[in-house]
Structure formats: C-alpha cells, structure tokens
C-alpha cells in the first residue's frame, strides 16, 4: 500500500519538475520545427502574414525551386568552401596547440591556455568588426605585418578570391581555443605508460604521435570534428558584419540567404525550405563523419 503511494507521489513530482522545461521546449522548439516543415510546403509570403487565408500548399515547389536558384547554389558552394577549409584547419590548429601545451616542458601553462582561449568567449559581432578593420587594405594591421615578409597588400574583404579565406582565418582564430580544451582533456586521458613503452622501443615523437596519440584521441577527434562542422555550417554573423555576403556574393552563406529570403523579403515558405536544406546537410554530414570513423 505504502509503495503505491510513493509511486503516485513520484509521478506527481516528476510532472511538476519536468513540465516547465519540457513545455517550453515543446512549444518553442518542437512545434516550430514541425511548423517550419509544413510551411516549407506552402507559398507563405508577405501577403500571408496579415491573413493566413492567403496561404496555400504548393507541394515540393519550394524545394524544386531551390535546385534552380543560382543564388542558393552560390550560398551552398560558399558554405561548403568555408566548412571544408575552416573545419580541418581549426581542428588541426587546436590539436597542435593542445599537444604543445600538454608538454611537460611548458611553464605558465595556464597563461598560454588563457591567451589562446580568450577569442572563444568574446562577442562574435565585436570581433568581426575588429577584424574588418584589421583586414583594411590600406590601414589594416594584417597587411602591415605581412609587408615585413615581403607580401604586397591584399584587399582581403574586397577581393572575391580572398574574402572567404579571410573569414576562414578569423573563424579559426575565434574557435580553435574551444577545441584545444577538449583535446587537452583527451590527451590527459591517454595513459603515460603507453608513451614510456614506445620510448623504450625507440619510437620517435612523430611515431608516438601517429601510433599512440592519434588513435587514442579518435573519439575526441570525432566529437570535435562534429561540433565544429555543425557550428561552421551555421555561418552567419561573420559575413553579415564583414562583407554582407559580398563581394559578388562570394561570402553569401546558407543561413544568410535564409535570413534574407525569410526576414528581409518575407518569402517565408521558401526560406523554410532553405532552413530544412541546411538541416538535411548537417544531418548527412553527421552520418558521414560517424561512418568514416567506424570504417577506420
């Protein structure tokens, strides 16, 4: 009898403890996801905002329009270019930094870790503005610094060939500290006797890295690659602040295109289909990453 009462009590408090969070997640996250999916099959536009009666279902027309939309393909291409360049670069730089900082030789570890990490916590919009001036072709400190090693001024944000690489450099600078911390945690979990045994067998640093560090870090690397990829596919503020998608749409990203279509031109149905294209790409990317790791 007593047991039954306890259970009842348990369920009642479970409901009380869970409902604030779960209700808000349900109403303000799950319902919008489903609604966005439905909207992506409609012609919801500026005329429908005032009167929902103007909405009609148009099947997959938004999605078929995506395939013919040159601007969408441009944004897709740019975003992939960004992810493929910045993703591996960011993971490599953070792994390198983590290995250096993990060395027993390093003094003032905390200080170096902090310097590498500070860009992570600072406001993206503010640092994007700072970098916009750093990239200034005439007065920017980057071109000034490069002049010492004999590199002629580059019009970083004004040249369609350089604008995306410029955003990549800034994104890697902003993000590598985060992954570095995760790699540091992973490195500290590798038992030191593995290295000791390898040294006894005469393995050099590179061999140790290849046959101990990399394999032991594989789960960490998968996690880091995943969150980096997912984050980078959502590129928005950097081009919004630094280039507005230009020059010649060379930095227009998927999210920026979705924002323009949805919140500037109010082509809400079409914009929803862009959002789902992004979701689909991230989903496929995640599956591919898991598959690649399993095969190894």
């Amino acid at each position: 009898m007593k047991k039954l009462d306890l259970n009842k009590e348990n369920i009642r408090s479970a409901v009380i403890f869970l409902s604030p969070a779960l209700l808000s997640i349900f109403i303000f996250f799950f319902i919008p996801v489903v609604a966005a999916f439905i909207i992506s099959f409609t012609d919801f536009d500026i005329y429908s905002i005032g009167d929902y009666a103007n909405i009609s279902f148009i099947g997959v027309r938004n999605y078929s329009r995506l395939f013919q939309d040159v601007l969408f393909w441009t944004s897709l291409k740019n975003t992939f270019y960004f992810v493929v360049l910045a993703g591996p670069l960011s993971v490599a730089v953070s792994l390198f930094a983590a290995i250096l900082l993990n060395s027993k030789l390093v003094k003032f570890k905390g200080l170096f870790r902090l310097s590498y990490f500070i860009p992570v916590v600072t406001t993206l919009v503010a640092v994007a503005i700072v970098w916009r001036f750093i990239y200034h072709p005439k007065f920017g400190i980057l071109n000034f610094a490069l002049s010492f090693i004999g590199i002629n001024p580059i019009d970083w944000l004004g040249d369609p060939n350089w604008a995306m690489p410029a955003i990549v450099i800034m994104a890697v600078w902003k993000n590598f500290g985060y992954n570095m911390i995760i790699f540091l945690a992973g490195l500290q979990n590798i038992p030191s006797h593995l290295y000791e045994a390898a040294i006894m067998e005469g393995a050099n640093s590179w061999q140790q890295f290849k046959s101990i560090t990399l394999p032991m870090l594989a789960p960490t690397t998968l996690f880091v690659s995943l969150i980096t990829m997912i984050g980078f596919f959502q590129l928005f503020a950097e081009p919004y602040i630094m280039t507005q998608g230009g020059p010649m749409n060379s930095t227009l990203s998927i999210v920026q295109y979705m924002y323009q279509e949805g919140f500037r031109w109010w082509n809400i149905g079409y914009s929803a289909s862009i959002a789902f294209a992004l979701f689909f790409i991230i989903f496929i990317g995640t599956i591919i990453q898991f598959k690649l790791r399993k095969d190894e």
Binding site: A21, V33, V125, V127, F144
Partner: protein, 269 residues
C-alpha cells in the same frame, strides 16, 4: 634548447592571438582618424576618452548595455531554474518513458536553431511580443543542452543521500533545494556562465526580433552602428571594447568552471 624554442613559439603565437584585442583597445583611445594612418600605430599618441563619451552620450549605448545585461541575467536565472529541475528529474526520478523522452531530446540537438526561427517569429508576432524583451526571454527559458549537463552531473549524486532525506520526511522540493542544488553548484555555475555569455553574445535572433533601437542588445546595436560608421575605426573599437569587456570579466573570474564544463561535455559524449 628545445624548451626555449617551445616557449618562444608559445609566446609569439599568444601575442599574435591577442593582437586583435590589443589593437582594439588602443584604437579605442585614439582621436578620430588616428587609426586610419599608415603605418598603423599600436599605441595612441594622444590618449582620449572621446570615443567612449560619444558612445554614451550622443549614441546612447548605455541603454543597449542595460538591455544586454538585463536579458542575459533574466534568461540565465529562468533557464537555470527550469533546466536544473528537469535535469534532476531525469537523473533521479523513476517514471515511464524517461529514457525515451531524454533520448528524443538529445537526438533533437542536431536540429539547427535556424529551422525554428521563422515559425517562432510568427508565433511571437501573433502574441504581440515581437520587439519586446519577451521575444528573447521566452525561447530561452529552457534548453536541451542545459538539461543534459545538469542530468549528467546530478546522476552521480548517491541515491542513499536522497533516500535518507526521504526517511527524515523531506519531500521532493526540499530534496531539490537542500541537497541537489547545493551539490550541483559547480555545474550550475558552469551552466550559468554558458547561458549568460551565450545570451550576451547572441546576434541572429535579437537581430530578427528586436526592431527598436532602444531595445537592441549590444551586438545588434554595434552591427547597426557599423552601417553608418564603417569609416570610424576608433569609435567602433570603443563599441567593441564595451561589448567584450563584461563577458571577458565574468569569464576571467569563473574560467575554471567554464573550462571544466567544456571538458566534461566533450569527454563524456
């Protein structure tokens, strides 16, 4: 020898990493036009606070600052309460479908937030909440990552502690605020830090739902200011300093919680 080279490398790369901030700070103390010279000067020849004065008087950035502060604190407090309650329930309660619901939540973390933005905007618009603080606060009241973080931490609290409190006649609420909350303090600080900084730094959502300059958060105000002042690096750097300094200070004081939060999230996954 090896040690010296390593340290030189670390020092040089640290300085390079921090140089954007050093330049930002020094340019913010320059008079108009002094950051637009070649070769660039790294330290102001005549130190002035005119950019900051300009921001706070003529451009009224103080209201944006207060908006950011108010919203970040409010979202942090509410979401900390909701997430910790749910995290505790997922960690310690026994009820039907618990694991199913939790796994559904976890797997939906892969859905990018941008997917929800259009319907969420329409929803808030129909409630008359666009261009109000509510448009930021309401969608931020709870989040899956926060629930996950607390649940992972609370699950390691021994059941015996909870059982003995129950025997002493404590109900679930008393257990929650007398046992769970104090024991979860480190992870609560971590989550508070993540939420505060996440809300402070957020850009896209405030850009969408806030249309009135007086309601803008700092990042939105800054982006807006950039449109008119793209040729005024000194003023824009002062704005960037004001935006960055508060989160930087909060982070520096509590960095150990932030770092351990990333580590626990990263390793356990």
């Amino acid at each position: 020898m090896k040690k010296t080279i390593l340290h030189i490398f670390l020092i040089v790369t640290s300085i390079i990493t921090l140089s954007p901030f050093i330049w930002m700070l020094s340019a913010s103390f320059m008079a108009d036009g002094h950051a637009n010279v070649y070769p660039p000067i790294f330290f102001p020849d005549a130190f002035t606070l005119m950019q900051y004065r300009n921001l706070f008087t003529r451009l009224n950035v103080s209201s944006n600052f207060l908006n950011s502060l108010f919203l970040s604190i409010t979202v942090t407090v509410i979401s900390l309460l909701f997430n910790s309650m749910a995290g505790y329930a997922f960690a310690k309660f026994r009820f039907k479908m618990k694991d199913k619901i939790f796994n559904l939540l976890l797997s939906s973390m892969i859905i990018p937030a941008q997917v929800t933005m259009l319907p969420l905007f329409l929803m808030l618009k129909s409630m008359g909440l666009i261009n109000s603080y509510y448009a930021i606060i309401i969608p931020g009241m709870a989040n899956i990552f926060g629930i996950f973080l607390i649940r992972q931490y609370a699950i390691s609290i021994p059941d015996s502690l909870i059982e003995s409190a129950k025997i002493d006649g404590a109900n679930d609420f008393q257990i929650y605020y007398r046992i769970i909350l104090p024991l979860c303090m480190p992870i609560l600080i971590t989550l508070a830090l993540f939420t505060f900084m996440g809300t402070w730094n957020d850009f896209m959502w405030p850009l969408i739902v806030l249309t009135d300059n007086s309601l803008y958060t700092l990042p939105v105000a800054l982006a807006n200011l950039m449109l008119e002042h793209s040729k005024d690096p000194e003023l824009m750097m002062a704005g960037s300093v004001i935006t960055i300094i508060p989160v930087l200070i909060v982070f520096l004081f509590l960095q150990k919680y932030y770092i351990s939060g990333i580590m626990s999230g990263g390793v356990k996954e």
